[in-house]
Point group: C2
Chain length 262, copies 2
DNA sequence: CGTACTATTTCGGTATACCTAAAATTTATA
DNA sequence: TATAAATTTTAGGTATACCGAAATAGTACG
């Protein structure tokens, strides 16, 4: 089965299905999809049937939903749109970090391919957006930085913030107020038992992992406690490896394995 | 009756109703509306009923359709969006004159008020778009240049191109190829009987109406014949008066009289 | 001044994308 | 392993915005 009519709802469904597996690989369920889209479960069931008819997803009743190669291609095109738009809004129209998401959400369905490519050119073909998310190229190739979510790291680990989830503008403002942004260097000091908080220390941006001499400032105003939401929203690149890459090939028949390579 | 749900269809209807009376004052009929929107007459009848319920138009069955003050306010907001977007696409994203219309048509329904105002600021709050159409300000005030359509002018009239209808990208490219653009100075030489064509002469841009000495170059390569479509798509400002203004007040209870002031 | 013609509206119908409630299936637990 | 609980699907229904065909109102002219 195949058809062309790609509505903006279809674009949203496919994008959410993709996003779910971008940083972990369990496929999404109907209920999770419904929650993320803000629609009823029954709406998802119907829509998934339609997506299946158009060969955008694989789905057996009562099982999770996976993108086909075509679905992945469409999803990556939408993700490209979204992330380029966010980057553009921040760089060219003085939008702040926390304002761009909703605007991009609407624009991504309205702009032409021409618009997207002109915008990408104007920006110098950026490869990551203001939150650190990688931007697929026009062919749908995406390079995932080998980052780790803060809750996976133990005391002593050092790294640079590579990605900050953009779903909560509140949190973005909070982080910014505490001096945390993309590329900020951090060291994990320790985990507070339960409650999900983590103690970290900001490292001077001059600090380089190739000079592992610890610039331990004795008593430091750079210590911070991060709450659970923050811990789950921050990803670090832990190597000196600044952009170690994995190229995804969406045109291949097989699905990508989007998990980072270590 | 009043309600808030302003869909993108409603926005289109209201915008087309407004546009029809922007340069002449006969109100639009159902059939004309249907033709311009590319929908069936029956669709217009239904939709006009809805617009009336929302107090956006005045309409008696079998009569033409007029905007109410609320409708005019919405229309001017949409026109502002459209024209700012066109200006932005040309100035910031290297779109050409003839490409912008369709793109703006989609974007105008998707962008936020914030986006519009940031864009306007970035552009230095322009007052006319790339085709010469006036851009209403954020309060819905619009300044109509006192221009005349080329078909209303007689031999000997001179002026500057103030507006070029943007509905036919073909025509825009044709005019550009013949060196005609916004602010090009012209003199009407004569009318060819029937067939609608008009002979004009390009004047050097240095030519000023305050020095009415005719710089009559004897045999001129600057003569052009304009076909009917071109004649109906070009407006000239004929005075030295470069931006003589009329301010429309859409919040007033009465409808504006959008015809230029002579 | 009535009839033919045109413009406009009304009347069923369609497609998309939702919803709630009920039925079916899977999973978890006692 | 049977039954309760949770998940997922189906069934029936809503709103928007279209359509074509039929009915109705207005206009034009012989």
């Amino acid at each position: 089965m195949k058809a062309t009519p790609t509505s903006s709802s279809i674009e949203d469904y496919v994008k959410v299905i993709y996003s779910f597996t971008e940083w972990q690989d369990k496929p999404i369920t109907s209920t999770q999809l419904a929650a993320r889209l803000g629609v009823a479960n029954s709406s998802v069931s119907e829509m998934v049937r339609k997506l299946k008819d158009q060969d955008l997803v694989d789905h057996e009743p009562y099982s999770p939903i996976r993108l086909t190669a075509d679905g992945l291609k469409l999803a990556l095109a939408m993700v490209r749109r979204h992330r380029l738009l966010e980057t553009y809004l921040v760089r060219e129209l003085d939008f702040s970090w926390d304002e761009v998401h909703d605007e991009a959400e609407h624009l991504e369905h309205a702009v032409s391919e021409t618009f997207i490519e002109r915008m990408s050119a104007k920006l110098g073909h950026p490869t990551r957006d203001p939150h650190g998310d990688p931007i697929p190229d026009a062919q749908g190739h995406i390079v995932m930085p080998p980052s780790h979510r803060l809750d996976e790291l133990d005391a002593g680990h050092r790294g640079q913030i590579a990605r900050i989830s953009d779903h909560d503008p509140e949190l973005l403002r909070h982080l910014q107020a505490n001096g945390l942004g993309l590329d900020t260097k951090l060291e994990v000091i320790g985990r507070r038992p339960f409650g999900g908080t983590l103690e970290v220390r900001k490292l001077p941006s001059s600090f380089s992992p190739s000079s592992p001499a610890v610039p331990s400032s004795p008593d430091d105003a750079d210590r911070l406690d991060l709450g659970e939401e923050a811990v789950l929203s921050l990803w670090l690149v832990t190597q000196g490896t600044h952009l170690d890459c994995t190229v995804q090939e969406p045109t291949a028949g097989s699905l990508m394995s989007p998990r980072n390579g270590r």
